[in-house]
Amino acid sequence: MNEPANPYHPLVELTLMRFREFWREPEALFWTFAFPILMAVALGIAFRNRPPEILKIGAAAPQLAQALARERQLDVQQFSAAAGAEALRTGKIALLVLPGSGGAVVYRYDDTNPDGRTARMLAHAAIEGAAGQTDPLPARDEYMREAGSRYIDFLIPGLLGLTLMSNAVWLTAFAIVDARRKKLMKRLVATPMPRRYYLASFLVARLFLLVFEVGVLLAFGAIVFGVPVRSSLLDIAALCILGSFAFSALALLLASRARTIEAVSGLMNLVQVPMWIFSGVFFSAQRFPNVLQPFIQALPLTAIIDALRASMLQGASLKAVAPQAGILGVWLVVCFATALRLFRWR
C-alpha cells in the first residue's frame, strides 16, 4: 500500500501553496499588479510634460493688440484700462500692456510671478519687432525634450521600489500571521516538515512573483511613457531580488511573534509609513534637511530606489550602486538572523 519513497518535495509543495493562496485571492492580485500601474497612470497624467504654455495677456489699445498678436506664444485680448486692471488683479492675464505718454509702452505685471516676467519679455520683443527693430544677430531655436529627465522617469523606479517593499512585506507577513492564527503553522510543525523549507518557500515564491511585479511595471513604463532602462535587465533583476529579499526578511521579523492580523498590521505601518514619506518614492529624498540624511539613506527603501534610479536612468553599473546594495545586504542579514531567533512556531 505504501509508495516506496516520497515522490513529493516539501519545498515544492510549500511553494505551490504560496502561489495558490496568492492566485486564488483576487484582491491580492489587484493590489500587487493593477495598483502600481493605476498609480503610475494617475501620476503620469498629473505630472505629464505640457506643451510650452501660451501666456494670456491683455492690451489696452487696438494698435498694441495688433503688434502683440505677432507673437505666437502670447494670447492677446483687448481690454479697457479698468477691465484690464481687474483681469490682471484676478490672475486671468499675466501682463497688461498700456499705452504710455509720448508713444511709450507701459508693462504692468507682478515681477515675482515668473509668468509675468516671461510675458513681459515676449511682449517687449513683439512690440519692438512691430516697430521695425530687427535682431542684431540671426538666431534659431532647437527644442530638446529628452526621455530620462521627466517626472515619470523619476517616478517609475520609485514605484518599483515601493511595489517591492509592499508586496514582500504584506504578502509574507500576512501569510505567516494568518497561518499562526489559524493554527495551521502549529499543525505543520507537528509533521516532520523541515522548518527551513517553510521559511524558504516564501523566498522562492517571491522570486517567481518578482518577475511579474517588476516586469509589468517596467514594461508599462517603457511602452506607455517611454521610460528608459539604460543598464542591463540582469542588473535590474539582481537589484530587485536583493531588495525583495531584504524586505521579505523584514517581513519575517515583523511577523515573527505577532498572533493577530491587527498586531502585525500595526507593526507593518509603523515600519512602512516612514519609508513612504522619507525614501523618495514621489520626490527626491534630498529635499529633507541634511541632519535627517544619514537616517534616510540607511532606510532599505531609499537604498533600493536610489540604486534603481541610478541603474535605470543613468545606466550606473552594479559597482556604482554597491553602497546601496550593501545597505540592503545588511538589512537582509540582520532581519533574517533576528527573525530566526524570535520566530514563534505556534
Partner: protein, 305 residues
C-alpha cells in the same frame, strides 16, 4: 512495549496547574480515551505527548523514544490531528493531502488516503467550501498520510452534527482494525464508550479513574439510573433506606437514584412516594454511563462549567 507511557507529568501556565502528576499508559494497538470536562488538562496532556508543548517535569515516552533525543524520527511515525486547526481555505482537498504527504518519507498515495476518508467526490473542492464533518475527515487524512503507528486525535468530533460524528466514529474504528494505536480526547461519553478500549477520566489535571468503560461503570456499584421530579416535602432519607438504592442526589428539584435492580427498585420507589403522599412526575431511567461515573466521582456534569 507500550505505544505511549507518561509518568508523573506536570505542566503549569503562570499560576494555573494544567497537568498535575499524570500517569498514563497506552498499549500498542489499543484505543485509549482521555475523558474529561473542558479545562481538565486533556489538550495540554496530548500536546505534550505530541511534542508541541514543553513539559515542566515528568517523563513521556512515545513508541519507546523521547522527544529530547528522537524528535525527527518520532514525527515520521505519528499522526496528529489538533483541535481547531484551519487548513488553508484556498487549497483543494487533493492539494492539501499532497502537501502533508510531502513531509513524510513513506506512506500511502494521497489518492488512497482521500478514498479512505471518503472525500473522493470532493478531491478538487476548495477546503473553504467543505462542511464541518468533511473538514474534520480531511484533518484525519492529513494525520494518516505518513502511515502512523500512533494517532493523536484531539476532540475529533467536537462541533459536528450526529450524522457526521457517526461517520467519523466509523473511520476511527477502521484505524483500530488496521492495528494503529490511538490516543483520543473527548468530552462526549458516548464517544469514549463506543471507541475506546480503555479510558482515563481527567479532572483538574489529574486522572481520577481509569479502566475499561465497563469496569468504570461497574465501579459505581449501580447499573441503572432513575430520575424523577417531586415535591420539596420529599423525604430523601427514606429513599436511601430502600434496598436497591445505592445513592440519592438532588439537583434543581430533580432527584437521581443509582440503583442495582431496576425491576424491583421502581415499584419500591413508587410505593414509598405513595406512602409519603408526594407526587411523582417525569420518571426516567437509563443504564449507567461514563457520564454517571464522572458525576459520581466529582459531583459535576462533564459538559457543565
Amino acid at each position: 512495549m507500550p505505544a505511549l507511557r507518561v509518568h508523573k507529568l506536570r505542566k503549569a501556565y503562570q499560576d494555573v496547574v494544567a497537568v498535575d502528576g499524570l500517569d498514563l499508559e497506552v498499549q500498542s494497538g489499543e484505543c485509549f480515551g482521555l475523558l474529561g470536562p473542558n479545562g481538565a488538562g486533556k489538550t495540554t496532556t496530548i500536546e505534550i505527548c505530541e511534542g508541541l508543548t514543553a513539559r515542566d517535569s515528568g517523563e513521556v515516552e512515545v513508541l519507546g523514544m523521547r522527544w529530547d533525543s528522537h524528535a525527527t524520527q518520532l514525527r515520521q511515525r505519528l499522526g496528529i490531528q489538533l483541535q481547531e486547526t484551519q487548513l488553508s481555505d484556498k487549497l483543494t482537498v487533493a492539494e492539501t493531502v499532497r502537501l502533508f504527504r510531502s513531509f513524510y518519507r513513506q506512506g500511502p498515495a494521497p489518492e488512497k488516503v482521500i478514498a479512505l476518508v471518503q472525500l473522493e467526490e470532493k478531491r478538487n473542492a476548495r477546503v473553504g467550501g467543505l462542511s464541518g464533518g468533511q473538514k474534520q475527515r480531511l484533518a484525519l487524512a492529513c494525520a494518516l498520510v505518513g502511515d502512523p503507528e500512533l494517532l493523536f486525535l484531539d476532540e475529533p468530533t467536537t462541533g459536528l452534527d450526529p450524522q457526521a460524528r457517526r461517520q467519523l466514529w466509523e473511520l476511527i474504528e477502521q484505524f483500530k482494525r488496521d492495528g494503529r494505536s490511538i490516543l483520543l480526547t473527548t468530552h462526549y461519553m458516548e464517544e469514549a464508550e463506543r471507541l475506546c478500549d480503555r479510558v482515563a477520566i481527567m479532572d483538574h489535571g489529574k486522572v481520577i479513574a481509569s479502566g475499561t468503560p465497563r469496569e468504570l461503570i461497574a465501579s459505581i456499584g449501580a447499573e441503572h439510573m432513575v430520575e424523577f421530579s417531586s415535591a420539596p416535602s420529599l423525604d430523601t432519607t427514606a429513599l436511601r433506606r430502600l434496598e436497591e438504592v445505592r445513592e440519592v442526589r438532588m439537583e434543581n428539584g430533580a432527584v437521581q437514584l443509582q440503583v442495582t435492580a431496576l425491576h424491583s427498585a421502581v415499584p419500591a420507589l413508587i410505593a414509598e412516594l405513595a406512602r409519603q403522599g408526594v407526587p411523582l412526575t417525569e420518571l426516567r431511567t437509563h443504564s449507567a454511563s461514563l457520564e454517571d461515573v464522572f458525576v459520581s466521582l466529582t459531583g459535576r456534569h462533564l459538559r457543565d462549567e
